[in-house]
Symmetry: C2
Subunit: 271 residues, 2 copies
């Protein structure tokens, strides 16, 4: 069996450094493919050029909404060293004008650094703790709606005090805490973390209602390989002003370890 | 009078998209130029190609330590839209081998998005507050040491409970809070924020002593133009394990507004 995530992020190297994939509509938010989904696809393409290494940090700048259509991912190696390997990727789709003339358009630019997958010796100093969440069965099940196809891909259980906004009960605090796992039983891994980092609604929806909160830039740090089972996620926006907001994410695994941190800059402008 | 920062980050476009600058040793940490300094220089080069726009988010992946020598910054426009403009930059220095053969080596790869400088209408929701700091005169003056030349560029006043590590009194918590301003009276502005985001020592030095905590990746979000006067800065590492750590920064201005958020991924490995 091929899981949805693996099928929909699959890429094939058609020329050296040129990968082709297909943006599937299963990860849409409205008519637009989710940015974390595109980031996960880019990470897979980059990772294919860096065997034996694992993602540590990846940043995407989103240029324009992608479409559910074939996508080309051009990977440019930047530096491959003993410890780290850095690469850039361009996410490109073709668009035809009224006369059928096809042009290439870039939808996102990505920069990533991979490293050896082994944990290295070093000091330990951990001050954070996993997000506060009641047991899964006491949480609010996130609704699955056809208008937001990505909601069908995850089993999402919200801390009750943060999950009422779906029913119009805004908490007044731009924070979401939730258990998250793939609905088809796929276990979390490093490949999935860039997607998970962008898979929940913007936490600002607990404060005010938007139609559209586009991501300008998303950075994900991978800190450990997730253990199997539910992920515990927390996303929060503390600074919403001037037409912009950040959303900070922490993803913890079932063993109680932080596996990823994320931060995105989004537009909150009403223009 | 030309201030140190402006003199040392000056770049000249020698061919379309190719800028030359000079990496000055005034911003060194040991023998190595500070990463935030290089980032500020890159932002100036990119900004020169995007008149009328202001930095919003910038990410650097550091590939190898730079040297105090001429530097070339190649700016590649990625997309210039109505609202946002995105560009990439390569930071390149020349190195000569024993036979005098000169090769170009890339030291950092940068991705940035600029936007209109105007604040845009939108919701306000701010939960953070400026870092807790006693009055300037009650804080600990950061020592200026020739081995860390960058310490001579700033007047830095630490919250006493976070600034004892210079004298060997580690707080045990990887956090620094400090008032910061340029020593030569230059006022803070958007250009300076990428540097300020990396201008203090790694907060992990309050927990354990390292000789070298290299930055892998640094992202800075510019949230507002700083008002003149002291900046209030806070840098913290909450997750030190597996050979890596993050350092999260907040920079607030004298008017009590958040002007930048930063996050970097650093190596804490002892290999």
């Amino acid at each position: 069996m091929t899981y949805e995530f693996d099928a929909d992020t699959a890429v094939v190297e058609v020329e050296p450094g040129i990968f082709r994939g297909n943006v599937h509509d299963r990860w849409n938010v409205g008519p637009v493919p989710n940015g974390g989904y595109l980031l996960a696809m880019a990470a897979r393409a980059i990772g294919a050029k860096l065997p034996g290494r694992e993602l540590r940090t990846i940043t995407a700048h989103y240029l324009r909404p992608a479409r559910c259509a074939p996508i080309e991912i051009e990977v440019e190696p930047v530096k491959e060293g003993r410890t780290y390997a850095t690469a850039m990727a361009r996410l490109i789709q073709e668009v035809a004008d009224a006369d059928g003339v096809v042009a290439k358009r870039e939808h996102a630019r990505v920069l990533a650094t991979f490293a050896s997958p082994d944990a290295r010796p070093g000091p330990e100093h951990v001050r954070g703790t996993p997000p506060e969440l009641p047991p899964v069965e006491e949480c609010l099940r996130g609704p699955m709606t056809d208008a937001v196809a990505i909601t069908h891909r995850f089993d999402t259980r919200y801390a009750p005090e943060t999950g009422g906004f779906f029913a119009g009960n805004l908490s007044g605090r731009a924070e979401l805490r939730a258990w998250v796992r793939f609905v088809d039983g796929r276990e979390p891994d490093v490949d999935a973390l860039p997607l998970i980092a962008d898979a929940l609604p913007p936490p600002i929806l607990n404060v005010t209602t938007f139609r559209w909160v586009p991501t300008i830039e998303l950075t994900v740090h991978v800190r450990a390989r997730p253990a199997p089972g539910w992920l515990r996620c927390k996303f929060e926006s503390r600074f919403v002003f001037g037409g912009y907001l950040e959303a900070d994410g922490e993803i913890w695994d079932s063993a109680g370890n932080l596996v990823a941190q994320s931060r995105q800059l989004m537009s909150a402008g009403t223009e």
